[in-house]
Point group: C2
Chain length 708, copies 2
């Protein structure tokens, strides 16, 4: 374990805690952590630091950290913002490895606060102190009864459980933690990272999922700065089989406006976050309730082998509702095998239904065997990977039902999720004790199960990934291509050069010739064959169409000559200062489907690749999927599968289906180009790529490079 | 009030109740209603009927209804299925106007049960008895303390409130009612309609919204048989300003499979239900929680004037989350006026945010004025129609916060919705008393507010509707056109005839001539002008393309002759028995956008019209909207607005925008055609309609009529 990691251990599982600026008033922010540590039975040492007191309660209070006669693992700093940097110097002298700073008045307040925060970070680094905060509520390690916080959430019971929760927001995080408690869902860790001046969401979660007591990570996120860290977190989560579920706000422009006025974190491009999260097996929840629904199911269930769902209910309507939602989310609700149906049919009343959803009817209260046997039987069906059962109320029958579910769970390794609408409190508590997930509504349960299946699939995909990333056509192709590039000093790259570069990575373009004169163009066209397109070629013109620089579908030499004249005149008028390299004569190409592949650099995630259907789909419907580069062919196939209009690839209206494997390979190749280009890459647009079956031809390449 | 309605009053607000088949064991299904009536303090008379007893508790028990010395408004029938018809005959002799039948063993069990149910309905009708059920839990009128039910929901408090709830499912309905109770949301009425042999969801809800104590209707629905009744219910709901919120299951094929195995109700085409519900101002909720969220907001808030939303929170993140969701759902989150911002800025701490969302920070607990003044100020902004405030936990400050919200509510007529995450029970109760909606999550609140805005808009639209329904081009056009139709005896109508019919309703087709010979065709084409399309014309060929009966874009007489030969050969081979009327020579037309209008007859809703963008949008993305015919132009504009890809109509990729008003008028005209055609109409497909700007030309009309 590195020193940085052991410092994180000191933060998350300290053997001793000092409270810098401690108060004897346990209702104050600087008194509450001491009260909390005492009340929760923290087994480590507690050192209040304040020159004003000798004792706080039964605890010795020290005038300074240096006066403490023992090592300090974690310092809680609750001082006015202006005093924090000095306090860190003292912590450094005392070799305290970790500190959490509650104090506000830093980056969140404006330029002065930002400067103070910068000074704080530098002091912390110089003194080898890992810092949580500032402007945070602190953290709770419920396993060790260690609440280094003044959050309201510590006011109630903090029963430990296999869920780690990290939140960038204090108030929202407290609310979520309280909701978890209302579900009897134990949070082993609660950490509020505040301004994330040093330790961020990714650092914290990465440390927490290594804890053997933690089975699931959950997070409230507004923005991620460390994209590579997030990717590593996702990969580790898949390796460990410990899902990390994230709820992220700031999806829309309106929402992002509010984010930027609220924290220093980058809201980023939400669609990029979404794609990258999927790529690395992170599970994204729509909101706090869905995150907790998923956490509950993940905490108590093994991963399913497939996506076959059996549904049993006491209400036919609830079965319909769940089947609807399952269908929305790509889960299967198979008709059970005839023999399974027959056996279930014998267990339930005549007016019940044994197909799937199974309607056990309300009779099971009088005869629990109806429910018990149906559940056991449905889980034996080979098409079924997960079972869900829906009941409601039943205040008088909690014990009976809990024992039924316990018995069913004991007899099958397949996950069983209980939906208990308007459940009695006793049911919530008793099922939590038995590690049986209880959800509040049928739809919520299906959504959580879909998350479980998603994680299971991501694990399988991860096993296939890596080796399948496309390699460039030849080693050093990038360097060779760049060496021959006329315009390698940054900015827009001339089309012919861009096409040559991309061609080395397996992107096909229509045959084309750069012509200096109209006669050259005619000669080129007769060699290429009509019809052709004529396009102005200039490193200074990004949007050729806008300056009248493109004419398509030219059928004859005369038409070509007219087009040459008209383009020349238009470009001269609209872009008089552009240096013209000539005109590109390009053979016209057509396809059944237009596709777009794009590259850009994201401040958090580095080079990211975008894929989507062209035309209306991208311009109007914004139906695109992002990934961090590089992507494997398998990743890229997953991307295609996430397009809403993916059915278009299957060959709508009598057209040939697109060769998805080949298209995925092309996406992977372009992603490899982004990696090879490294920081030189600014942006690439291959729009459109005309596809017919397995023929894929990019009509244009708009490439922008950063200066060397 | 009609007799049927007064019978419904006897059902819903009876002055006396007889229990047929009463038991002295109050734990049994036939004992529970008596216990419930006694416990809830029913003020009317209770007559247990059972020859086995003289008394049940303190109540006289009668051997038969005829022995009761008083009038009976409502009979609760709890007998074996086989005895129910006889019991109804006795009820008839006693002139009992209404009965609720708990007994199962009717339509839900199979053909025999269906026959028994039919006999029951006939007996009820013959005896002028309105029947609720059979196979139902009964009903509760909480206003009058009248629980004619054995539902578990009656086991707890049934506090009356302005919400009427009608459910087709007993178990699911009970669960929903219990969830409402957990929210301190009073259900004035709870009615389970069971098999709906006589009284159905629509009848019941239509009666309940007339009750002055009811402000909101809520319903759990699996299928609607009485489409006209649903439309009338919606219209009445808009007139009264009493929203009816419906959750309907059976959206998908998988779900519908389960519905049909579960009840006798028609699941119908869900998209049709969805469209018709919108058309008539019914609000559809996604699930039970959303229905209750909406009910809570509707019950306590006036309708907003517009869709401007102000958001205040103690957590910036919650503001972002709500702004995101508002943006998804078409609500505005306006930046507040500078003067409003300035005033709010003076009320909140320096690190707060005054734009919108407003971050009041956590300081308001110490200084309630921060919250109170911010809320009052944001509601004064003229761009704001609705306010929402987000807080969490605060167990120690319930009284304080409740008084703040009460004061703010008193000073503004604009709706104020409180989101209180992990709210203390006391907060739920106290806010309910003050008629202030308290929702459990930010997203839920925004969704409920969107429902409020939707209802408000539907009311405004309804005011404009009716007069704007397009009239046919000329009176009796339908009759005249049909008189000249060669194929008016049902089945597929020849294209030329269909086009003539539709043309009378304002649908334009390309100029075309029916040709009997290839020379006729050549003559026609030279008159029309090339290019032309050539299409086989036969009343026996619906899908011309499939038999090789269509050739497009013919540029020359030679091409036309070749096409004639090739179509002749292909049709002869593929449809040898079809009676051929000739071939249609049609001028080729093109457009920027392809559109589709369709008509069909729905078993519940009669003639319904479908509109959508053509090609991939309809075939792959299923992006279509339905309405019941006729629709007004305003309705049709609303339809266009509901298309996911509606932005395509605005002129994507440099194309001219579609004249939406004209397209809406066309939809309205086609809907008028459906009404005029009446039961003769089976199906119509205008696919595609080529649109460029305000030019709209249908290329084909596939019309099928029912026999006269």
């Amino acid at each position: 374990m590195t020193s940085a990691n052991s410092n994180l251990t000191a933060l998350l599982s300290p053997r001793s805690v000092a409270i810098i600026g401690a108060s004897a008033d346990f209702n104050k922010i600087n008194g509450r952590p001491i009260r909390n540590l005492l009340e929760k039975g923290y087994a480590g040492k507690i050192f209040p630091i304040n020159p004003k007191y000798d004792k706080i309660g039964d605890l010795t209070c020290y005038p300074s950290v240096e006066a403490v006669p023992d090592t300090i693992d974690l310092a809680i700093v609750i001082l006015p913002a202006g005093a924090v940097v000095e306090a860190f110097k003292a912590l450094g002298r005392k070799k305290v490895p970790a500190a959490v700073v509650f104090s506000a008045g830093f980056g969140e307040t404006g330029p002065e606060g930002k400067a103070l925060e910068q000074a704080l970070v530098e002091t912390a680094r110089a003194n080898n102190i890992r810092l949580c905060g500032p402007n945070c509520l602190g953290l709770i390690n419920a396993f060790d009864g260690m609440p280094a916080t003044f959050s309201q959430y510590a006011d109630g019971e903090n029963v430990p459980g296999p869920i780690a929760f990290v939140t960038q927001s204090g108030a929202f995080g407290t609310a979520i933690a309280a909701l978890a408690r209302n579900r009897s869902l134990g949070l082993g860790f609660f950490v509020n990272t505040g301004n994330e001046a040093d330790i961020d969401f990714v650092d914290t979660m990465s440390a927490l999922i290594e804890d053997p007591r933690v089975k699931v990570g959950t997070g409230y996120v507004e923005g991620i700065r460390n994209g590579d860290g997030l990717a590593a977190l996702g990969r580790r989560s898949l390796e460990l089989g410990k899902p990390v579920i994230v709820m992220k706000v700031g999806r829309t422009k309106v929402g992002s406006r509010a984010v930027s006025s609220h924290t220093g974190a980058l809201a980023g491009e939400d669609a990029i976050f979404d794609g990258v999260a999927k790529q690395f097996g992170l599970i994204r929840a729509r909101n706090e309730e869905e995150m907790l629904d998923m956490a509950q199911v993940f905490a108590y269930c093994d991963l399913p082998k497939g996506n076959g769902l059996a549904i049993a209910t006491q209400s036919g309507g609830a079965g319909v509702q769940m089947a609807d939602r399952a269908d929305d989310l790509g889960l299967k609700v198979p008709v059970l095998l005839a023999e399974t149906q027959e056996k279930i049919g014998k267990s339930i009343p005549g007016f019940g239904v044994a197909t799937n959803p199974i309607d056990v009817t309300g009779q099971f209260v009088a005869q629990p065997a109806i429910l018990r046997d149906s559940l056991k039987l449905m889980l034996t069906d080979p098409q079924v990977d997960i079972g869900v059962v829906w009941i409601e109320l039943m205040h008088k029958n909690v014990d009976l039902l809990v024992s039924v579910f316990e018995e069913v769970k004991a007899q099958s390794t397949k996950p069983l999720v209980v939906v208990w609408v308007a459940a009695p409190d006793a049911a919530v508590k008793e099922l939590a004790k038995r590690k049986i997930p209880l959800l509040r509504s049928g739809e919520a349960a299906i959504e959580a199960i879909a998350g479980l299946v998603q994680f299971s699939k991501a694990q399988q995909l991860a096993k296939n990934t890596g080796s399948a990333i496309a390699k460039p056509a030849a080693e050093h192709e990038w360097q060779r291509a760049m060496a021959s590039a006329k315009n390698a000093d940054g900015g827009l790259v001339a089309s012919a050069v861009a096409m040559a570069l991309l061609n080395a990575y397996g992107v096909n373009f229509p045959p084309a010739t750069l012509a200096a004169t109209v006669d050259d163009a005619k000669a080129a066209a007769s060699t290429l064959g009509y019809p052709v397109a004529l396009k102005i070629e200039s490193g200074q013109i990004a949007h050729k169409t806008e300056v009248g620089g493109v004419q398509l579908n030219l059928q004859t030499p005369d038409a070509l000559a007219n087009a040459w004249a008209s383009i020349s005149a238009s470009v001269k008028a609209k872009a008089p200062n552009a240096k013209i390299d000539g005109m590109l004569v390009q053979k016209m190409s057509s396809g059944d489907v237009e596709f777009v592949i794009g590259l850009q650099r994201d401040p958090s995630f580095g080079p990211v690749i975008m894929a989507g259907l062209g035309g209306i789909f991208i311009e109007v419907l914004k139906d695109v999927v992002f990934r961090q580069c590089p992507v494997s062919t398998a990743d890229a196939e997953q991307m295609l599968d996430e397009l809403h209009a993916k059915a278009v690839l299957d060959g709508a209206r009598g057209k040939a289906p697109v060769d998805r494997k080949k298209l995925a390979a092309l996406i992977a190749q372009v992603s490899r180009f982004a990696v090879d280009a490294g920081p030189r890459l600014s942006e690439l647009d291959l729009n459109p790529i005309m596809i017919r079956g397995d023929q894929m031809v990019a009509v244009d390449a708009l490439l922008t490079l950063n200066t060397q």
